[in-house]
């Protein structure tokens, strides 16, 4: 029994060090503990963009197939600059940009650099996903239903994605160098959690409007900081 005690003590010390280093148990520093905050708010689009219509093909001999509408109301809110820790890469994240009913789902995808995005074809027809964007040009070629191809996005930037066969299919992939960003929900709301105290410029992007910015400060005590945006012409 006694021979097991040193091992138990070592395990306890190791667990305590891990907990302290990861923030589960704060270490005593003699100063007030710093609490990360949340930036939240709403992005309003003054002129909500219309759905993307197919190019009028006079050579068609039948009605165009019905396709899912493209949700162009989604905006992306992000910090223009971020604490150094936010740039750390800890894993190999994956994301998915689906092809369904002649639409990319989601229409706006925000990822951190280093993310691999899968492009499954879950439609009833061929697609040819490609992008000519400087940040990450690629062409996946034509592939059939039930197949998937993937692309790794290593560089920050905006990647506009198209289908070579269906002119109305498009999507945006916003690749960030850090983790402090969020895509708005159906109501235009967003929430960026776990932002360390500091002074930041918050940017709001939408494909149909000029990007706007706000200066905000996340206090030492953390809490919620609100930043609302109204994009587009008044």
């Amino acid at each position: 029994m006694r021979s097991g005690l040193p091992s138990a003590r070592l395990v306890f010390i190791a667990v305590a060090l891990w907990a302290a280093s990861t923030g589960v148990i704060p270490l005593a520093t003699g100063r007030d503990p710093v609490v990360n905050g949340t930036i939240r708010g709403r992005v309003e689009l003054r002129q909500p963009p219309a759905d993307l219509a197919p190019r009028p093909h006079v050579g068609d001999v039948s009605m165009p197939r019905a396709h899912d509408p493209t949700d162009r109301r989604r905006s992306v809110v992000y910090l223009e600059t971020a604490p150094r820790a936010a740039f750390d890469r800890r894993d190999e994240p994956r994301a998915k940009l689906d092809q369904r009913n002649e639409a990319f789902v989601p229409h706006v995808l925000a990822i951190v650099a280093g993310t691999t995005v899968d492009f499954p074809n879950n439609d009833k027809t061929y697609h040819n996903v490609f992008s000519l964007s400087r940040a990450r040009p690629f062409d996946l070629g034509r592939y059939a239903v039930g197949h998937s191809k993937s692309v790794k996005f290593d560089s920050p930037g905006i990647v506009r994605v198209f289908c070579d066969i269906h002119s109305h299919m498009s999507a945006f992939i916003l690749v960030f160098a850090h983790r402090h960003f969020a895509v708005t929900d159906d109501e235009g709301r967003y929430r960026i959690d776990n932002v360390p105290p500091g002074s930041y410029t918050v940017m709001a992007w939408n494909e149909s409007a000029h990007t706007e910015s706000r200066r905000i400060v996340v206090p030492d005590s953390g809490g919620d900081v609100e930043a609302n945006f109204a994009l587009g012409r008044q």
Binding site: A50, L52, A53, R55, V58, G59, I158, V175
Partner: protein, 407 residues
């Protein structure tokens, strides 16, 4: 406060962009069609500028509107208005080389049963026959600058004029442009291609689409070679195409058409009525695409029942056009394409050991490189070589460049 300052200092304030360059909110040029009325109206456009060698001696690339396809400026405006789910009004107007704006398509499409893929189109409609006629109409889906011979090269036949003798017909061999004959209109005018890629016919079309099979049929005023807005001979053309899609990326098509070809001015000028003077055509087409490859091929056989005055007889003259083209995407921006094309004509028995073809056979090879400046703005460079068995100029190579933009 001290901690806040520390965090500000450690922020990457010197790294200008975490997202890359500023968000591009607007393309330099429109990226998609303009839509209005909640998407019920969509308007697209195409501007294609092609510059290349002159072709006013050999006439390998002239169209029935007398424009050189390798040296043309074309502006097209197309629109589709769908006021209700089962009705659409579709149209396109074009100007070539800044000439008069012409309607190229104008029809109403009706889907009687909204849940069944059966449509009826009335007006100036897309051709039922073949595959290229519908696809190649909009330049963005033509992977090369040049057109297939069967759809563009002008034979020596005309709908509004006819040769009196076989010798009259043979004199026009290999011109590739204007022909003149003693019967009917005696003005020199362009001959007709096997199928016109630059004009559409007027009539009624029905289309049914199943899971793997499509059927299209139409009744129109003109013919494949001479599509018309108004009737010129009291006859109608019937054409049909059956398409089969056995697997994703593969389309097999078979087509047939028959219609009265010659203008009534020609048939009335003959000493006696000789019944039908029709254009009859059969076609087969295939398209296969996978990965970065797109392969297409088409075969068109056409027969005209040509009336001759001396001796008073009708002779069948045939033409066979066949081509295969391939497109390969080398990089997201660079595309290479090639087409091998042949147009052959049947022989006439004009004397002992003398059986010339009624027009001069043509072989065409074309290779293109395209560079996508943006998704809907492409620059192309092409070299096209033509060989012909007759005519003043028998062989010629053309270099051309093209800038095409559409939305």
């Amino acid at each position: 406060m001290c901690r806040v300052s520390l965090l500000v200092i450690t922020s990457i304030t010197s790294a200008a962009w975490v997202l890359g360059p500023p968000a591009a909110v607007a393309q330099p040029l429109p990226a998609g069609p303009v839509s209005a009325f909640d998407g019920r109206l969509s308007v697209g456009a195409e501007v294609v500028a092609t510059i290349g060698d002159k072709d006013n001696v050999a006439f390998f690339n002239y169209t029935d509107y007398e424009h050189n396809t390798l040296r043309m400026f074309r502006v097209a405006l197309s629109a589709a208005w769908r006021p209700v789910a089962r009705v659409a009004v579709v149209g396109e107007v074009r100007s070539e080389d800044l000439n008069l704006v012409r309607p190229y398509a104008a029809y109403i499409r009706v889907r009687p049963w909204i849940k069944h893929a059966f449509d009826v189109q009335v007006g100036q409609i897309p051709p039922s026959f073949g595959a290229y006629g519908r696809r190649g109409y909009q330049g963005s889906d033509n992977p090369l600058i040049g057109y297939p011979l069967a759809y563009q090269y002008l034979t020596s036949l005309r709908a509004d004029a006819a040769p009196a003798t076989v010798a009259n017909l043979l004199v026009m061999r290999g011109r590739g442009w204007r022909a003149s004959y003693p019967i009917g209109s005696q003005e020199p005018e362009p001959g007709v291609p096997l199928i016109s890629a630059f004009r559409w016919d007027t009539g009624v079309q029905a289309h049914w689409e199943g899971r793997t099979i499509d059927v299209t049929g139409s009744v129109t005023t003109g013919t494949l070679a001479d599509p018309r807005m108004s009737d010129n001979n009291g006859g109608k053309q019937v054409s049909t195409r059956l398409a089969y899609r056995p697997t994703a990326g593969l389309i097999l098509g078979a087509s047939a058409a028959r219609g009265e070809f010659f203008d009534r001015n020609v048939t009335q000028a003959l000493s006696e009525s000789r019944g039908s003077h029709a254009q009859t055509a059969l076609g087969a087409d295939v398209e296969y695409s996978r990965g970065y490859w797109l392969l297409r091929s088409e075969l068109v056989w056409s027969r005209w029942n040509v009336p001759f005055a001396s001796p008073a007889t009708t002779i069948d003259v045939d033409a066979l056009g066949a081509w295969v083209e391939a497109r390969y995407r080398v990089t997201p921006r660079i595309v290479v394409s090639g087409r091998a094309d042949r147009l052959g004509f049947s022989r006439l028995d004009v004397g002992p050991n003398l059986t010339p073809t009624w027009d001069a056979n043509v072989t065409r090879l074309e290779a293109d490189v395209g560079y996508y400046i943006q998704r809907n703005l492409v620059a192309r460079f092409a070299v096209q070589h033509n060989d012909r068995d007759g005519g003043r100029v028998r062989t010629r190579t053309y270099f051309s460049g093209q800038l095409g933009y559409w939305f």
